[in-house]
């Protein structure tokens, strides 16, 4: 039972992250290996506010979302200004820098040991102590995220983003601002990542830098690639499938010392295989 609770809660959180990465990579077409960094910032902010009893859960989530929106815009602006390839450097740099901050800024983040004892989320003054309550909260967050993604993609904004993905120059020629649309997509991606971070911190009640490192960013990218770019279905399928993978690996009796490497190895193989043979993923559109 506990296993299913935690699987569903984590998968819900990762669906939010999948939506976030999909908005950035699939829809805005910006290569990113730093979404886990933004996710981490959201998690640490919510943890900080709740552990120091500054605000209750929802205001803390709102603050985290706003900070992550700002951060994501700041992070992606160079990608929109300079040539796309240079942004690869920015993205790697930001992810490595974020890991350095999470690991070395001991006063703020607890360093490599992480932050234990994050209080459970609360709604309307009542703490959600039971695990099923938190699972419901995560599911609710996921549902809200999916609804927002669906609304946005069926609105003119979604059509504009699709047009941009096909031909930026033609969009500019019709008098629309490509930059503005991409910044909006990045902002929305930031809000999703920040919210996911807050849910993650309160669900696990413990966070450490290893959840928000480069490998985590690669996992997020793999989820979008496997599920499929630019669709709601793809953003849901990817996380649910890939989070089941570690469980499957435990059945295959791999020595625990190399389990982490084996997992990342599989992500790498999936990235290559899907790019070669099925760039649209299981349920997406072409990248």
């Amino acid at each position: 039972m506990d296993f299913w609770f935690s699987y569903i809660a984590l998968a819900s959180i990762y669906v939010l992250l999948g939506l976030s990465t999909n908005l950035l990579v699939g829809i805005a077409g910006i290569f990113s290996v730093s979404q886990a960094a933004v996710f981490g910032v959201g998690a640490y902010i919510v943890a900080f506010f709740l552990m120091n009893d500054i605000t209750s859960f929802l205001p803390a989530m709102a603050i985290a979302a706003v900070c992550c929106i700002a951060l994501n815009i700041l992070v992606t602006l160079p990608a929109l200004r300079v040539s796309g390839d240079y942004f690869v450097v920015t993205s790697f740099g930001i992810q490595l820098l974020a890991t350095a901050v999470f690991t070395n800024w001991t006063d703020g983040t607890g360093g490599a040991n992480g932050l234990p004892g994050i209080p459970p989320p609360d709604l309307a003054g009542k703490a959600l102590e039971e695990s099923w309550q938190v699972v419901l909260l995560c599911l609710g967050g996921m549902a809200l995220g999916c609804l927002i993604f669906w609304l946005v993609m069926r609105a003119p904004f979604g059509r504009l983003l699709r047009a941009i993905r096909e031909d930026e120059l033609a969009v500019a020629a019709t008098g629309k601002s490509v930059l503005r649309a991409k910044v909006s997509a990045a902002a929305l991606a930031g809000a999703f990542a920040g919210t996911a971070g807050g849910l993650y911190a309160t669900f696990l009640s413990f966070i450490d830098p290893s959840s928000f490192d480069l490998d985590a960013s690669i996992l997020l990218l793999t989820m979008v690639v496997v599920g499929g770019a630019r669709t709601l279905a793809g953003s849901i399928i990817g996380p649910f499938l890939l989070l089941a993978l570690p469980q499957i690996l435990t059945l295959v009796d791999i020595p625990t010392t190399i389990a982490a490497a084996a997992r990342q190895l599989i992500y790498g193989v999936l990235l290559i295989a899907f790019m070669l043979f099925r760039p649209q993923g299981l349920a997406g559109e072409k990248l």
């Binding site: 609105a155 979604g158 504009l160 699709r162 020629a173 019709t174 008098g175």
Partner: protein, 254 residues
Amino acid sequence: MTPYLQASAVEVSFGGLRALNDCSFTIQQGHITCLVGPNGAGKTTIFNVITGFLKPNSGSVTFKGQPLDGWKPQAIVAAGIARTFQNLRLFVDLTAVDNVLASLPGQTGEEPLAAIFRPFHVAAAQRRRREEALAILDRVGLSARSGDFVRNLSYGEQKLLIIARVLATGAELLLLDEPASGLSSGALEDVMALLRSLRNDGKTLLVVEHNTRVVQKIADDVLFLHQGHLMAQGSPETIVNDPALAEIYFGGAI
């Protein structure tokens, strides 16, 4: 009286190559002006300069007396100038009507906040805009194909759709890059009729065209560009019948 559109001494060079060389001309409102000249004369380059895709090394373009120096493409569209591309650049994975919708200005729900917080309002507004887009498709004679994906349209239909898309921007001065090239004679007549009717509706057109027969039929005024420089300007008859220009245009080709 201020000229409608005026290019003054526009210079553009790529590396060592001079694409536009002291290029100056004016265009009259309500006319179809055809831009002719041999390949590499700088016809598309002048489009790029007027629409803000290319910054000239020197010289400037004024529209109704207002200099467009340093304007972004979207500001120029908002001012009333829109263009097409020679290779169309339609959104091939969208339907015909969505191609037009994507070019209509000022839509509610074109940024995420409205889309999230006012979904019903956005949906209602979209229904109205869709009517508008269908009317534009009807204008170019494509209403029967509105729901079809661009990749399923014939080449002639795609060329009509690109005109629908540029009309959707609401611009009054339309720069059309070879709207009639590669068309069968029937489709050619359709396009020419459409261009003339657009002019009669008050649009001003600047058209790149190679086919002298088309030029003679639609143009009120012709600009002859050669090596990035305006060689001659006049009525279609004078330009087409000028032996010196014909020598430049067809020289060596026949």
